[in-house]
Symmetry: C2
Subunit: 521 residues, 2 copies
């Protein structure tokens, strides 16, 4: 089969689509080169006349709410992923849409998870035309194999806010799963059986969608406080028996990595941050909930205690390790974008210094600044890194699209970006000549920490100078790559890819940085 | 002098302007008759590229910030009034504009106070063309005398949000006085010498203005938490020595009325609410900070204690009387729009059940509902009420425009609206044949409580039935009017008015409900 794509070579040298699912898109122009014009998306003006004066917006079912919101073929339906792999709501929404006989929907989740595998049948039957949003697991695999009718578009958390704010993606109906809500639609993620902490990923949806449906299994009398989602943006409230499986929403406890290699990498990354002069009173850091990132935070905590250093703020995904730091006085604040364990939820509920944030505050590149560029040191993962420090987080070396971008691209704007990664995984080198999919340009990636040495981006002369004379094992990235290849017996095999483009990857400014092609078996 | 006004008779029978300061406006069509069309105002899309990566948006002075924001002739500059009669910032802004030689500005404050009298010189010199916003005191008097070049427009708090949201008023530059702020522009009213509680009146300004300037005398390191105003909306931050006079921002203590008549009225209003069956477990009420309203709240508290009744929420303006009720467990929540004393500020700082609100949540009539219509009983003041229960809050019987609308119009949507008013003031009857200025249609006003009896709007048969057989002194409004005239020796004198229209009064939906004419001496 031949494909008649409209493509261009972008500033990163990647051939990308300039038309996706019939809509025009701009190729990546380079870091900080694309400036938006025009005005933000403007939702319709409503009137209180059309809403119940007593504030009770409840309707009987998701299906009824979708009908009242005027669901029809080709619409865009959004959901959020704070319930992660425990979410029941997205499946209910598309089952209801199928029952209503609607076709060709665009599903615009902030991310999807293995629990959403049932939506494959709606992709096959034509209820859902394509997914724009991160796809973790089976939906990514389905897409990788070229089975989705439309082309997926993957965006970072900030890029998703930007796309909605800028009117690039118009949400017809937003469905917001709410662990706690009142009949007016005020909602939060702090209370109830499905408590997940915060609801920031649904903020853009609430602000910009034509219709907003809140779905809850824990209705409280008005006012639901705090109102992380404001009822004044909400059209309908639906009560269901359960919005999700608590055991898959947040962990009871968070596991640190037990791998000696990963622990070594994490410890080296923390040491690097200290030796480079980054870890000092009033500094800030961001570390995610992956095993190595968590271990980094734990090593950093020891360093801070030993050196009597206090952070001004720490960015979550929060876990008990961060909340302990807050409670021990090692940081003034946690600025949290996503809560990963029960301790995180408890802390956010009880501690006013544990502040919920949103992609608007933290990551939106088309705002008047955001928090990401103010963070002193950021620790992130990657599936691949190349010798130019370019990195990949969405595909594996075999070409399969199995991960979302999350806040990863947005965090690259941190003052120092460290990727602590193993030199190889399953005997496949992680440092390569060229990344399979370009997600983060090397220009923004400063340090690679592996179990066999640390490579500093030559652009960061200041960092090279700062660690000169320390006993940190500084090496060139080429040396690390060669060592990985020696151990693994050569470079990774090239994936077998078809001509079909299955997904486009956006940069934080809405331009297309790369595409993903179908994987052939 | 002849005026060539374009006017129409609106649904309330008032002759109103359909063109004001060169812009078209819609005449009042009746309660809940005007439905808006179109989309919300859309601010320009910005990019992080144009903001400091380290989040430090400070510039040297208000003048410099205004220049950077591109101030020029004819622009609209907004301020808020949380600092009330202690505000230094608005005067600084227009002094700076005058120094920059700018002319014909529209000043769009949420309200102005006697402290802003120095702006009269800028109105006289042409720096400011006209004021749109409540005018308490000297600026109102100046306007009443026909001295302002343009025509004033008065809006309720909700109407101001609506006008900005709907694009009726485009704010070029918003200046936000912040008792506490960080260099990124996050701000709150909770901390610092000028602490005023919350900053909700500036919300629309931050969201919709082209440029937003935060002015503070209490800069804290990022992050300033809570961020009642979000730095992601802010362009520049200016540090000044003092933004206001603390003694005039909030009271140290709040004074109850000592007038025996007012106390009687307040007590009767509270009794009425009980006897009518409104005061019951889970109910809600709103009472302002005026002496009689405060006294109402105090009498209600006694009633609630005696009858073991707990409110679900109480709407502020908060004072120590409301915060005591919260702390005594007489209400689950305070939903606060404006903090009137130091106890209110302390409570909001410390108690998560003392929730700040904004005109968006509480009053915006062009939202998906708002809080005002969910309140069971609302107690409000008035300068005049007529036999059709129409009420006036902006002008006196002599025609002078001396008060703003505040949230008054918005609160008329409460389930039961009570106006506790004296039968006469300075021997001038308060109940009249026809109000001088129509601000609130009688259709929405349910009960008038005076020291000589209670009049219930005949439309509220349910209330008439509910209090039948009680010993409340229920009378007709005509009877009350006649009694007032008997005591005062006749009807109030008609004010001497000129042909010039000095102000237009908006209804909550953006239509023009009445105009105010020049007062002749």
């Amino acid at each position: 089969m031949k494909y008649n794509y409209k493509t261009e070579i972008n500033a990163a040298g990647r051939e990308v689509l300039v038309e996706i699912n019939g809509e025009k898109h701009i190729p990546f122009k380079g870091i900080n080169k694309h400036k938006p014009t025009g005005r933000k998306a403007a939702p319709p003006i409503r009137s209180c006349i059309d809403y119940p004066w007593d504030g009770d917006k409840r309707v009987g079912s998701i299906k009824e709410a979708l009908k009242k919101a005027g669901i029809r073929d080709g619409m865009t339906i959004s959901t959020h992923h704070h319930l992660r792999n425990g979410d029941y709501v997205a499946n209910m929404v598309f089952d209801a849409a199928a029952e209503l006989g609607v076709k060709n929907l665009r599903w615009f989740p902030s991310a999807s998870f293995p629990i959403h595998a049932p939506i494959i049948k709606h992709l096959e039957s034509g209820v859902v035309h394509h997914i724009e949003g991160s796809m973790n697991g089976p939906l990514g695999d389905f897409t990788s194999r070229g089975k989705m009718k439309g082309t997926a578009i993957l965006r970072s958390h900030g890029g998703r806010y930007q796309a909605v704010q800028d009117g690039e993606v118009h949400i017809d109906i937003a469905v917001i799963s709410a662990p706690c809500a009142d009949p007016f639609g005020n909602a939060n993620g702090l209370y109830g059986p499905a408590a997940c902490g915060l609801l920031g990923f649904a903020l853009a949806d609430s602000q910009y969608a034509d219709y907003v449906i809140v779905v809850t299994d824990n209705l409280v009398p008005f006012p639901c406080i705090p109102w992380q989602i404001q009822g004044n943006y909400v059209d309908y409230v639906v009560e269901v028996e359960s919005i999700g499986d608590p055991t898959k929403i947040v962990s009871g406890t968070t596991q640190l990595t037990k791998s000696p290699d990963r622990l070594l990498i994490a410890e080296m990354a923390a040491k690097f941050a200290l030796e480079a002069g980054i870890v000092k009173d009033g500094f800030s850091f961001q570390a995610g909930a992956g095993g190595t990132s968590l271990a980094f935070a734990v090593f950093l905590r020891d360093i801070m205690k030993k050196n009597n250093i206090k952070a001004r703020f720490v960015r979550g995904g929060s876990t008990k390790y961060l909340t302990e730091m807050l409670e021990e006085g090692l940081t003034d604040y946690i600025l949290d974008g996503q809560t990963f364990d029960l301790e995180g939820v408890r802390s956010m509920r009880e501690n006013p210094r544990h502040q919920d944030t949103s992609p608007f505050t933290s990551y939106n590149f088309h705002g008047k600044g955001n928090f990401a560029s103010m963070v002193d040191v950021v620790v992130l993962g990657a599936t691949e890194v190349d010798v130019n420090f370019n990195a990949n987080v969405v595909t594996h070396s075999d070409g399969r699209l199995l991960h979302g971008i999350g806040g990863w691209q947005n965090c690259l704007y941190g003052k120092t970006v460290i990727l602590p990664i193993p030199l190889f995984r399953d005997r496949i080198p992680v440092i390569v000549d060229e990344v399979t999919t370009l997600v983060g340009p090397g220009e923004l990636i400063d340090v690679i920490v592996t179990e066999r040495g640390i490579a500093i981006n030559p652009k960061r002369k200041d960092l090279l100078d700062a660690v000169k004379g320390t006993n940190l094992p500084i090496r060139s990235i080429e040396e690390l790559k060669e060592e990985a290849e020696k151990i693994c017996g050569g470079k990774p095999k090239k994936p077998k890819l078809g001509d079909k483009i299955v997904a486009a990857i956006k940069w934080v400014d809405g331009t297309v940085i790369d595409v993903v092609r179908q994987v052939l078996d």
